[in-house]
């Protein structure tokens, strides 16, 4: 039993990393070389929030830091800044996951909205503080809006297809203990 759940734990962790790599792959496809004045959703952050709220043990802090830093490096962002903000945001959500477990989806959505907007605008503020060029407000606002709009869909995919569900009372965790 313990072996089984332990291998499942690592399988799901690997699945999360693979998911991030697939998202990065589609980001990097050379399809959009002209500037546009809207931004798509930040799928990596949204998936990290959804997974972290459901099963914090599937997305340990070390993995999160690694994939966010990799995304920063590959997507040509200032390395580390987005990563550290996103890491703090998701860890904060993880620590609140137990309280949100029994709450409705609306409550989860609101808390994710707060975290995502703090990450995006914190990033903007710190870029300005470090005397780096800040992107236009439209880009930030469309990114925020798109991320929040797509979040229910991401939860649906996480819950339905990937099978990452909230722990129910009486479930066993990876070490065979009750959660």
């Amino acid at each position: 039993m313990t072996d089984l759940s332990r291998s499942r734990l690592w399988l799901m962790r690997a699945e999360f990393v693979a998911l991030v790599l697939v998202i990065l792959f589609f980001h990097l496809l050379p399809l959009e070389t002209t500037p546009r004045n809207w931004a798509g959703p930040d799928l990596i952050l949204a998936f990290a929030c959804a997974w972290g709220l459901r099963r914090p043990e599937y997305v340990p802090a070390l993995f999160l830091a690694g994939v966010f830093l990799l995304a920063d490096l590959l997507l040509h962002r200032p390395p580390g800044l987005w990563a550290v903000l996103a890491l703090i945001g998701v860890e904060n959500l993880k620590s609140r996951g137990r309280n949100l477990r029994d709450a409705s989806f609306a409550a989860e959505w609101v808390s994710v909205a707060i975290v995502v907007s703090l990450v995006i605008f914190g990033n903007r503020f710190l870029l300005g503080l470090a005397l780096l060029p800040t992107p236009t407000m439209t880009l930030n606002l469309t990114e925020l809006a798109m991320t929040l709009l797509i979040y229910p869909l991401i939860v649906l995919v996480t819950h339905g297809i990937m099978g990452v569900r909230k722990t129910a009372p009486g479930d066993l965790d990876a070490l065979g203990k009750r959660v």
Binding site: L24, F25, F26, H27, L28, L29, P30, L31, E32, T33, T34, P35, R36, N37, W38, A39, G40, A61, L62, A65, F68, L69, L70, L73, L74, L75, H76, R77, P78, P79, G80, L81, A83, V84, L87, I88, E91, A130, L132, P133, P135, T136, L139, E143, K177, R178, V179
Partner: protein, 300 residues
Amino acid sequence: MAKDRSSSSDFTGPLRRLLLAVLVLALTGVFLLWRIDSPRVERFRAQVTDRFVPNLDWAMAPVTGTINLLRDFQSYQRLSEQNRELRSELRQMQAWKEAALQLEQENARLLDLNNVRLDPRLTFITGTVLADSGSPYRQSVLLNVGARDGLVEGWATMDGIGLVGRIAGVGKNTARVILLTDASSRIPASIQPSGQRAMVTGDNSAAPPLDFIENPELVRPGDRVISSGDGGVFPAGILIGQVAADPGGRLRVRLAADYERLEFLRVLRHHGNEKVPDTAHVITSDGPLADPAAPVGGNP
């Protein structure tokens, strides 16, 4: 059960918090290091990209091809309309071709008369675009040529027609091109008939604005913008685009390169402009230097 849970969280909690603190510090450190010593971290980024992206090439090419095919399918719907437009454009082109041929002959004759030696060192390497920047905040593409092919930071990159950007970040097998539209791109340019100097400053829009024009009244929409070679990093005389005025009256460059389809890019080898260290000496002692200039002014 409750006791069990609290004891386990007592045990893992501080460790987890310590790990989180270490990670936060490390990431902040990376950012600060990048802010202070950007070239070192950018080199690291180039290495990571170099390791990562070429491995995905086998999958990227077919997926990009399929998506482009689907996009093209939409344009097939207005095929007849496009055909008509193309025919009329072709008629205009034939007139231009005739003019170009005449000019080419005239140019060859004049070059021959002047005994001009074109710079033989301005050769190019062609690379294909592997990936784009992946985010709407930055405008850059990744090429499949790198330090292995002798690329150097700062070299100019163009498609068949006009300037596209400059190399920034060279890995072993890949190099990143910062496009002219990126917010960090600054290219010294000169505007053609009037000879005014200006900077093409990217601002994340499709038509970058022209800054620091000495005398904007001499610049008209439709003037040609070419690279000026100031600063010695860039070869002079590469076409950038045409001047256009936006509704607010600000002068911008309509870029000549086809940014919709960046597929093959040329990287121009450039070994720096040669400097003339003391101009006074050259002018006073080299009397013949003024001679070749005379027929140029006299011929046309």
